[in-house]
């Protein structure tokens, strides 16, 4: 069969190419360009080679110290919220009704926090936690707890974490619920007949069937929490001190506060690279997990 060559297809690809070039490739190249230079006022640029990258990875310099410290805080934050949100999301999904009108009610209530814009979430919790007028802060203080997220590092962390759990556990729960709903009734009936306990049903049926959605949930929550900016910035502004300054907050400080475009560009490239690598690792793990159970038998 003769292949027809039709060059018109280029016209269809070209607009996409143009959009991607202007929205992604050109800005990225600009950042790469900045990361190799030092900026002064009046648009003066000086070549700095890989200097910023060397500094970034060297904790003894100012840039490196700030980057690595905030990276550490970020990883700790992600680890904490994952270890809370994933089990909690599973528990919530398991305790949701399987049918009836209450399903819709539960779904709406769960979806509510997900619909609130980030900075509004931050504002809600910033006010909620204030010791003078906030319901939470005032109550805790009148109960005798010396709670103040502005001055106490632990309180600041606790507030940011509880806020994230409040905001995002729903996402994990909804994903798990979808996974649970896809389990055919025959599995539960078979488990009943096999005399399985509640725990055995969870371990042998529900958890394995939720496997894939859980991987997606962990991936989404990790990426999101690793890039978190708005909520902690609104609540604590990165403080007290630098205790809740995450990488993105540090990045904004360097880029817009100090106007050190070279340093900021180098930092954002490394930041981006870390996210890409984590994405790739997750993707590989997920596709491998998928390859382990090929050709799901259609059970209806």
């Amino acid at each position: 069969m003769d292949k027809t060559i039709n060059q018109k297809a280029w016209f269809l690809v070209l607009p996409v190419f143009a959009v991607v070039a202007f929205s992604a490739i050109l800005p990225l190249m600009t950042v790469v360009n900045y990361s190799m230079q030092d900026t002064f006022g009046n648009n003066q640029f000086f070549w700095n080679g890989v200097g910023w990258f060397k500094e970034l990875l060297d904790p003894s310099t100012d840039l490196g110290g700030r980057f690595l410290a905030s990276l550490g805080r970020n990883l700790l934050f992600s680890a904490i919220i994952l270890s809370i949100e994933v089990p909690l999301g599973i528990v919530v999904a398991l305790s949701m009704p399987r049918e009836g009108w209450s399903v819709a009610v539960c779904l709406v209530i769960l979806a509510l926090p997900l619909l609130i814009p980030w900075n509004v979430v931050g504002t809600i919790w910033q006010i909620f936690g204030r010791p003078d007028i906030g319901l939470l802060g005032y109550t805790l203080n009148s109960l005798g707890f010396d709670y103040n997220y502005v001055s106490n590092e632990f309180d600041a962390w606790a507030t940011v974490i509880v806020m994230d759990v409040w905001h995002w556990t729903s996402l994990v729960a909804l994903l798990c619920y979808a996974g649970l709903k896809s389990i055919p009734d025959a599995y539960y009936q078979a488990a009943q007949i096999d005399g399985a306990s509640r725990w055995a049903v969870f371990k042998a049926i529900q958890l394995p069937k939720m496997n894939r959605v859980l991987l997606i949930a962990v991936l989404l929550r990790f990426m999101d929490s690793f890039m978190i900016y708005t909520e902690p910035f609104v609540v604590t502004g990165g403080g007290p001190g630098n205790s809740t300054t995450f990488v993105s907050i540090e990045l904004v400080k360097i880029a817009l506060g100090q106007f050190d475009l070279g340093k900021a560009a180098a930092l954002s490239l490394v930041y981006n690279l870390i996210i890409l690598i984590v994405c790739w690792v997750f993707y590989t793990v997920m596709t491998n997990a998928g390859a382990e159970c090929p050709a799901k038998q259609g059970g209806a």
């Binding site: 009936q189 096999d194 042998a204 049926i205």
Partner: protein, 361 residues
Amino acid sequence: MARIDLVDLAHSYGGNDAAPESFALKPVTMTWRQGGAYALLGPSGCGKTTLLNLISGIVTPSRGKILFDGADITPLSTQKRNIAQVFQFPVIYDTMTVGQNLAFPLQNRGVPKAEVEARVRQIADLLDLTFYLDRKATRLTADAKQKISLGRGLVRSDVAAVLFDEPLTVIDPELKWQLRSKLKALHRELDLTMIYVTHDQTEALTFADTVVVMHDGRVVQSGTPAELFDKPAHTFVGYFIGSPGMNIVPAVVSGHEARIDGHIIGLHRNYGVLPAGAKIEVGVRPEFVNIAAPASGLLSATIERIDDLGRARFARVRVGDAKFAARVPPGFSVPDNMVGLVFDPAHVHVYADSRLVEGVA
């Protein structure tokens, strides 16, 4: 190990107040004896799966009782009923090996380890699964998975009954034969009561000693395959079992004679008093109607087509408005249009409102 009695058992998915005609299972009373191999046969939606789920406790009956060895177990949960059930589609515990899958029902009931191992070995042997025992169950083919499901159903030696809900649906035809005879052999070996739900008459007739035919939520006949074939108690049984199904045609019956389309056929028995106002039909299996050259004294019919089934040929003919299937005797060359029908009077049955009427000899 138990005798199972159903006492006035009925179920409606719309609750007990639903109209009697809408019940998925209309009241049934019957006994399943210990060690029997039963088949529940009927078309989709006839209530056979409902009946099975009532026995296993997945569904709680709207009315009536279920007795195991005389003890009422109706209120008991599935776990406490001591029943095994195999479903239409394979149910596999993904994270476990084949061996762990088979051991699962025993472990949950705290059976000692040595006993579990011995029993798992025995069942794996019977089902040819020994080779796979240490493999993950998820990677196997659909038939192997269904064998594991069967194995989990059979692994407990103390169950009151093993229930099969169309377990061979997902299996390839050639393997179906093997597995069915395997089940039959297992039944002999393990001495378990087995109840097998299917809509496939071949499956039912080859597996079971007693076939229970269901239609529209009712048990219409329960008997050996031979009984179902020779003496269907209901026109539905006649038509559903056998290939082609029974010929059922309206007739006027009196004494030893049935009149079809103005022609008189002799009957083996005497039908004196038939229920007044009932719809009277005669039924005869195609195997007991031969076609012959047209002759006086024979019911004459028009040939529509000939079906060659390999082992036998059947002619589809028409008598007035009624359609007949009739056997073509070996070596008989079929004339173009008109033939005569020769009936075997011993196998002509009379039905009043679809139910068999017993004549007097």
